[in-house]
């Protein structure tokens, strides 16, 4: 069981992630009503939010150093923030501003941050091999860093997933593969896409540990990830972790979600892992109700400041689009 400071910090991370994404959702919808125009408003393009998946990010990243590489997906904000990415620069990148991580060249699916060794990919499964490469470098350099790759259950059917696991196992690299099983690949449910119930079982194909975390619970994730990260740091090779998590929102903002019933969505909202975790911390006296409120207030202030920074930052010079193709 993690100590109370860790519990409180995971709660804090989950709260600031949730509030950040709620603010991004609001900003995203600006200018997109009454008719939804994906190109309109201060945040154009696609927007994939991770409400419900915070436990995975908080539980895993609690074990990481900024120098540990992390690769994520088209749905990257919760992982980026939990790994320590600067919230202002993240927000500014989402708003397409000069002060953003990539000076507006990447956008919300293509976040790259040297300070936290963070990268992500909008192509399903294709961010996984990069993590193997970070780990390969660590091994060659004699560093005790680890690389962590987050991906969805849909990605576990991609060749890149299997190639990456085979290489990492073959070369005994310090990698943690984290499958966020939110049960839906856009509109296709897992049982219609994947021949087995649990992706963790696929670890057996590569002779590495595979652990299923059946509950969307940051403590359970923390325990399992801690063991895997420690094993990787001491040269014990890669692990696969699968977490059964929830996607409370659509695949992207504007997703009509015809594939899920209102009853199911209501059920998901009722079991919101963040609220459940908070209730438990209060019940077990890790947090008082006032502590919890203070955490929300602190996060609210941080998020408001980041969004304000993004809104008031200048856009890049248009012709700067032609820069940085080559180093």
């Amino acid at each position: 069981m993690p100590d109370n400071d860790v519990l409180r910090e995971m709660h804090h991370q989950m709260v600031r992630i949730r509030l950040f994404e709620e603010s991004i959702q609001q900003a995203y919808l600006e200018g997109k009503t009454p008719a939804f125009d994906i190109a309109a408003g201060p945040v154009p393009g696609e927007m994939h939010l991770a409400a419900g998946q915070e436990p995975v990010a908080a539980g895993v990243c609690a074990h990481l150093r900024a120098s540990d590489a992390v690769t994520a997906t088209h749905r990257p904000h919760h992982i980026a923030l939990a790994h320590g990415m600067d919230m202002k620069r993240l927000a500014a990148e989402i708003f397409g501003k000069e002060t953003g991580l990539g000076h507006g060249r990447g956008g919300h699916m293509h976040l790259f941050d040297a300070a936290t060794n963070f990268g992500c990919s909008g192509i399903v499964g294709e961010g996984i091999p990069t993590a193997v490469g970070h780990a390969l470098a660590y091994k060659k350099q004699g560093r005790d860093n680890v690389a962590v790759s987050f991906f969805g259950e849909g990605a576990a059917n991609q060749g890149a997933f299997h190639e990456a696991l085979n290489l990492a196992a073959l070369w005994k690299l310090p990698v943690l593969f984290v499958c966020e099983d939110n049960a839906w690949a856009i509109s296709v449910p897992k049982e219609k896409a994947t021949a087995i119930a649990n992706n963790a079982d696929r670890a057996a194909a590569y002779g590495i540990p595979g652990v299923l975390v059946p509950d969307n619970d940051p403590v359970a994730v923390y325990e399992v990830a801690g063991e895997a990260v420690a094993r990787a740091r001491r040269g014990g090779g890669p692990s696969l972790i699968e977490v059964k998590t929830d996607r409370l929102l659509g695949h992207f903002e504007g997703d009509p979600q015809m594939y899920r019933s209102p009853e199911e969505l209501a059920r998901l909202k009722d079991r919101d892992a963040l609220r459940a975790f908070e209730r438990r911390l209060i019940e077990t006296a890790v947090l008082t109700a006032a502590d919890a409120q203070a955490t929300w207030d602190r996060a609210r202030a941080e998020v408001d400041e980041a969004i304000q920074f993004a809104r008031t930052s200048p856009y890049p010079e248009p012709a700067a689009a032609l820069l940085h193709v080559f180093a």
């Binding site: 790259f112 193997v132 490469g133 390969l136 060659k140 350099q141 193709v325």
Partner: protein, 338 residues
């Protein structure tokens, strides 16, 4: 009688020497790829390196291109300088996403904050009846996609210097060697695949074309094995009093547009010889460059001799019908001057 002191090497040995010297110089350089260890690379580019540097720095990989090219990208992001060999360019289809969506774009998407210093080497070209999936050149297709430099040498000297430049470059470099320039014992003998290569390390700048033969009557812009064919053709043309200038591009990205324009301004005629598919590719780009930069100097419409827009056939007469060669270059040059 003068004593021959110049050391001669095949192109494959020149490339292998570049690898060895850079690995000696820089511990962050390592090689990975299929059959590059004990085998020494199917086209001999890594012969002897496993014995010298060991399996940690000369890594045989599984046939898992998305995996190991992706791993090279990650290693490059974390401070290494990997060289990943993918045996044939035709195989890129199974791992294209890693190349054009990741290797080539991360630097840009990061706003210049991250670098991907890696070399991706591969063999290109046909002419030996290896069929539609083992004979393509495809540099035009990669050149169309922003974010990677593309090096295509023609001689042993250039091959070594360009490889050293590629390894030291902070950008991803796609290094494409034609099987016919490597000097392999199991390919049709090519005397131009052996040449003088200095023993010491040296660089040849990426993005600088080279006049392999000076001439006044027409410019033949070409690259890779077709440089050899063009030089052969130029010898034939010279016997008829036609002096062709042969400009070897050496790299496709960056393209040395100034050299193309300067040569066309001098000779007033342009023939592009290209083993890549004709349409929507390199030959069109070179001609556009000449028309935009030297329109007033042109005495005739630019011409091109490229691979027709068909998959590469197996049977010898079929493939040879499609490939540019010495005789076709001579004929095209004469037509340009007629």
């Amino acid at each position: 009688m003068a004593v021959e002191t110049k050391r001669l090497l095949t192109t494959s040995k020149a490339i292998s020497e570049a690898f060895a010297q850079e690995m000696e110089r820089d511990p962050s350089v390592f090689l990975m790829g299929e059959d590059i260890g004990v085998y020494g690379g199917i086209f001999g580019a890594t012969t002897g390196l496993l014995e010298r540097f060991g399996p940690e720095r000369v890594m045989d990989t599984p046939i898992s291109e998305t995996g190991f090219i992706g791993a090279a990208i990650g290693a490059a992001l974390s401070g290494m300088r990997p060289v990943a060999e993918l045996m044939f360019v035709d195989f890129f289809g199974v791992c294209m996403d890693q190349i054009y969506n990741h290797m080539a774009k991360i630097h840009y998407e990061s706003g210049g904050n991250l670098k991907v210093p890696m070399v991706l080497t591969t063999a290109i070209g046909g002419g030996y009846s290896d069929g539609a999936q083992h004979s393509q050149t495809l540099y035009g297709m990669f050149a169309h996609l922003p974010g990677m430099k593309i090096v295509v040498p023609s001689t042993p000297y250039d091959a070594k210097g360009l490889m050293i430049s590629a390894i030291r470059d902070d950008n991803p470099v796609l290094y494409m060697f034609h099987k016919g320039i490597m000097g392999l014992g199991w390919m049709t003998p090519n005397p131009r695949a052996t040449g003088h290569v200095p023993e010491e390390p040296y660089t040849v700048p990426i993005g600088t074309a080279d006049v392999k033969r000076a001439g006044r009557d027409l410019t033949i812009v070409t690259l890779s094995l077709m440089v050899h064919r063009a030089l052969d053709a130029a010898e034939d043309l010279a016997k008829e009093g036609i002096e062709a200038e042969v400009l070897d591009l050496r790299s496709v990205i960056p393209l040395d547009r100034e050299a193309i324009v300067a040569s066309v301004r001098k000779t007033h005629r342009l023939l592009v010889v290209d083993e890549d598919y004709q349409s929507f590719g390199l030959s069109g780009e070179v001609i556009t460059t000449a028309v935009q930069g030297a329109f007033d100097s042109l005495d005739a419409p630019p011409a091109r001799l490229a691979y027709p827009d068909v998959p590469i056939p197996y049977s010898r007469p079929l493939e040879q019908f499609c490939l540019p060669n010495r005789e076709k270059i001579v004929a095209a040059a004469k037509q340009l001057l007629a």
